[in-house]
Amino acid sequence: MMEMLIDILSWASFVGGALFLFIGSLGMVRLGDFWARLHAASIVDSAGVGLILFGMMLQAGLTLVTVKIAIIVLFLFITGPTASHAVANAAFVSGSRPTDMVEDITAPKAKPKVTKRKSRKTKPKATTSSAKKKSGA
């Protein structure tokens, strides 16, 4: 009975994690520019990997393997955001800015602080996706 419960729980985490991995990857493709794609990566970082590793912990039970997975989670939760920040900071320093922002505190003072809100985009076409990672360079 207990094993059954653990199996169900861990499978739920595996499926949920896979779903979030898929959503994150889909977001990487769909979201328009570099900055928005960054957030899709952060879903993969937290929910996707977190849920899958949690499912593995349930499968492993109270063993050394679980301890190792817990340490992996700990390291991932420190290095993941650090890497995201490094990438975002590199883009920021080199002058890249998100497209169609509604608010930008780093904008030069001459411009109005709130730029006008663009109409919602339907789908990112070739023009936006070609500018993805290179926008910072």
């Binding site: 937290s46 929910a47 190792k68 650090t82 920040h85 975002a88 922002m101 339907t122």
Partner: protein, 155 residues
């Protein structure tokens, strides 16, 4: 102290308790301690002096729930057909005193989907937010207060 931490880590990682393997562990831990002592950073104040562990654990649990909520919100943005994003760069004041507190706050912002810490400046962070909910200044300030509470010397 460092030796004890490293050796416990070795024992947990290896899982093999033969004399040879444990002996190798002792040797490599001693080697690490020797190298670190040559770097002259052994006696330095580590992060454990800046933080209260029980509060930190409680904060991490709270953060996990927040990450879950934000994951769901951003997943909905990605899956909705018109991608309703309203990007903004905002300033978030950081009131943490210790370096560890600032690091924790900045990393907490970044790991929460929807917000990324872009730049740190004295007194505030520049944060990129994907949607209106993610850019809610009150929620970010609340997170900042919680990080502040994990710091030693405050109550």
């Amino acid at each position: 102290m460092l030796f004890v931490v490293l050796f416990v880590l070795w024992l947990l990682m290896s899982g093999i308790y033969k004399p040879l393997v444990v002996g190798l562990g002792v040797i490599s831990c001693l080697l690490c301690v020797w190298i670190v002592s040559r770097l002259e950073i052994l006696g330095e104040k580590g992060f454990q002096h800046d933080v209260r562990i029980t509060k930190l654990v409680r904060y991490v649990l709270w953060l996990t729930v927040e990450i879950g909520k934000a994951d769901w919100a951003i997943a909905k943005v990605i899956l909705s057909p018109d991608l309703p994003r309203r990007q903004r760069l905002i300033a978030v004041p950081c009131t943490q005193q210790s370096d560890f507190g600032k690091m924790l706050f900045a990393n907490s912002i970044t790991i929460t989907p929807g917000t990324v810490t872009v730049e740190t400046e004295p007194g505030h962070f520049i944060v990129h937010a994907l949607t209106d909910e993610a850019a809610d200044p009150d929620a970010l300030a609340d997170m900042g207060t919680r990080v502040r509470e994990t710091e030693a010397g405050t109550s």
